[in-house]
């Protein structure tokens, strides 16, 4: 193998350092005995113990997960419908307006979306007595994350071979059945990534959540943000360390599984060609 030049090695190390030192130092300080986050007071599991005893953290985490699951699911359903309309119907009255509306949350500053949603919910609140809280947060999250799903689904459908759907229709399936038999299974990976993206966006959203939450509906990001304003505590480092570990493990497992699937696919393809000779 060609040896890397010293310059490249130095730049590579700097790059890694830039990415990982903040996370590693945070993990390191999560084992801090001192109650001050930035002053090292010796190794201890105390921050973790205190974290597990803080109920507010777990309430917030539970609420965040619930909102994320519900909003991601609804966003996936609505976003898929919007994406299909955009990909499959090239001309209908108001298509340009519809397309603009679907993608506007992607380019609109979050504060603007937040303010407009807050005004809307206040208005609805006067009219119907709907209190702002978990429900309004969920609706707000659906609103912006369905845009992402719509864009993902639209681009997947644009690259999909339509003759596969025509073949299903040719073999006797009505359009609705074609959707469930053929289209949705084929675009399933796009739906899964759309759902995961919507889930992630909901889970760490602060700005829009701030504008749409009400009393008693504190999500995990809002809780952490609130705590950090009072100075970073070792408990927050501990919480962040747990999250980083969970996400890191998840990504590693997904990577291994994908690598295996790819290997299997290559093996199958080779087999197919060998058998054909």
């Amino acid at each position: 193998m060609k040896r890397l030049s010293t310059f490249l090695v130095v730049m590579l190390c700097l790059g890694y350092a830039f990415f990982y030192i903040p996370i590693l130092s945070m993990m390191f300080f999560s084992f801090n005995k001192s109650k001050l986050a930035t002053v090292w007071g010796g190794f201890s599991f105390d921050p973790y113990v205190r974290l597990f005893k803080t109920n507010a953290v777990w309430d917030a985490a539970g609420l965040s997960l619930m909102i994320a699951v519900i909003s991601a699911t609804f966003a996936t359903i609505l976003g898929t419908m919007a994406g299909m309309a955009l990909a499959r119907f090239k001309r209908f009255p108001g298509r340009t307006a519809f397309s603009g509306l679907v993608t506007s949350p992607l380019i609109m500053p979050e504060v603007i979306t937040g303010i407009s949603l807050a005004l809307l919910f206040i208005g609805i609140g006067y009219a119907t007595g709907l209190m702002r809280g978990a429900t309004t947060i969920t609706i707000a999250h659906i609103t912006f994350s369905m845009s992402y799903v719509a864009v993902i689904v639209q681009s997947r459908l644009a690259s999909m071979d339509r003759s596969v759907e025509e073949a299903a229709m040719d073999l006797g399936s009505k359009p609705a059945q074609v959707l469930f038999d053929v289209t949705l299974p084929i675009i399933a990976p796009a739906l899964v990534s759309g759902w995961l993206l919507a889930f992630t966006l909901s889970l760490d959203d602060v700005v829009i959540t701030t504008f749409t939450n009400g009393p008693g509906s504190t999500t995990l990001p809002l809780y952490i943000f609130g705590q950090a304003r009072l100075g970073v505590k070792p408990e927050m480092n501990a919480l962040a360390t747990i999250i980083v570990t969970l996400v890191g493990t998840g990504v590693a497992i997904a990577g291994i599984l994908m690598h295996r699937a790819e290997q299997k696919r290559l093996r199958d393809e080779r087999q197919a060609y060998a058998a054909n000779k």
Partner: protein, 382 residues
């Protein structure tokens, strides 16, 4: 399948004026915006035929096929299948199945599921369904691949799955869009004959769309040559090759040499044409009388020209020139002869003698004569 009882037919069904066509395309036009893809096409296809729509890309052949399948609606005209008007009938209710150019296999289903997909709408028991699928898998010889998914198959295997899937519902009409387009030459030839075998076995009507004239010639009972949305000529492969009616058809099917000229005299089925290009007169048979002075072209296929070094007798159709190119292909050689006028003529010479033994017919720079029998030439009128 019902047996025809040995087919005691007196002649091809398409010559029988009283025969009822199975598919009748009547004055069909399809426009996309200002572009006319199919222009007033009228066509009859009979039961059991293997009919080929032949033409270059963009000639409208695929659009015509898609209108038969129901994916496009004719702008004008109507399509009848087995006497039934197809207007307003969606693809999923037509007695037609299609094999797509891209094969369009369902990527998430196994070979078995792909082939059996159309049967889930049929009113039949699970056992019957399984039997039918098994029979089809055997027909296309994919037994050991039944549980594979499309991406685990080679191109030829995928193509056979697509064919089996299209045959599963035992359609009255099978449409094939460039069925052999994605295969290499060896596999194509093999599949061509397989396709003909299957058609013999199941006896349904096939319509094949292709841009490959060889494919159309070997497969089809009849061919319709299309160009710019119009059918230029319909006929058996022999008719199309030996008696093309227009310059386009003559040029599209195989290669042909054309000598443009004017009719000098015309009598008893023979026409004498004076060809200014070669400064000679040629005699060619023709079935209708042409007025003197009308512009025509005498067309001769390269394999129907004889190449000699000796000047022919008077009255024989001949042109003269020098050899500028010589290509040796093994079974035959291709000569390109430059006439005095500068025009190039192609000649195919069958190498009946082994190369190196005896003298070659002609080599570069040789002055040669090309002769042809009057009956080998075709007269193409404008």
């Amino acid at each position: 399948m019902p047996d025809d009882g040995g087919k005691p037919q007196s002649g091809p069904i398409w010559l029988d004026a009283a025969a009822k066509p199975f598919i009748s395309i009547e004055g069909v036009t399809k426009r996309f915006g200002s572009f006319t893809a199919v222009d007033n096409v009228t066509l009859k296809v009979f039961k059991g035929e293997l009919f080929a729509l032949l033409g270059g890309s963009g000639c409208g052949k695929s659009t015509l096929l898609r209108m038969l399948a129901g994916f496009e609606t004719p702008t004008e005209g109507k399509i009848l299948i087995d006497g039934q008007d197809m207007a307003g009938i969606p693809p999923y209710e037509r007695p037609v199945n299609m094999m797509f150019q891209s094969y369009a296999l369902f990527p998430h289903m196994t070979v078995e599921k792909n082939i059996g997909y159309g049967l889930k709408h049929e009113n039949m028991s699970d056992a019957e369904r399984a039997d039918r699928v098994k029979m089809l898998i055997d027909l296309v010889q994919l037994g050991q691949f039944a549980q594979r998914k499309p991406h685990q198959l080679s191109g030829g295997q995928r193509q056979r799955v697509a064919l089996a899937r299209a045959l599963a519902k035992q359609p009255k009409l099978l449409l094939l869009d460039e069925p052999l387009g994605a295969l290499d030459k060896k596999l194509r030839e093999q599949t061509q004959f397989e396709l003909m075998n299957i058609q013999d076995k199941v006896g349904i009507t096939f319509i094949v769309v292709t841009h490959d004239q060889e494919e159309a010639m070997t497969l089809a009972t009849r061919i319709a040559v299309m160009d710019k949305g119009v059918i230029r000529q319909t006929g058996t492969p022999t008719e199309i090759y030996e008696y093309p009616r227009t310059k386009f058809v003559a040029d599209f099917i195989g290669s042909i040499n054309q000598f443009e000229g004017e009719v000098k005299s015309s009598k008893k089925g023979f026409v004498t044409v004076s060809v200014p290009l070669t400064n000679t007169e040629m005699t060619v048979p023709h079935d209708r009388d042409l007025p003197e002075g009308s512009k025509v072209a005498v067309a001769v296929r390269p394999e129907k020209l004889t190449i000699t070094r000796k000047a022919p007798a008077k009255g024989v159709n001949a042109v003269t020139g020098t050899v500028v190119d010589l290509g040796y292909f093994g079974k035959d050689s291709l000569y390109r002869i430059k006439l005095a006028s500068g025009a190039l003529v192609r000649v195919n010479h069958v190498n009946s003698k082994r190369a190196g033994e005896g003298e070659r017919v002609a080599v570069w720079e040789d002055k040669v004569w090309l002769t042809f029998d009057p009956s080998s030439a075709i007269l193409l009128a404008e």
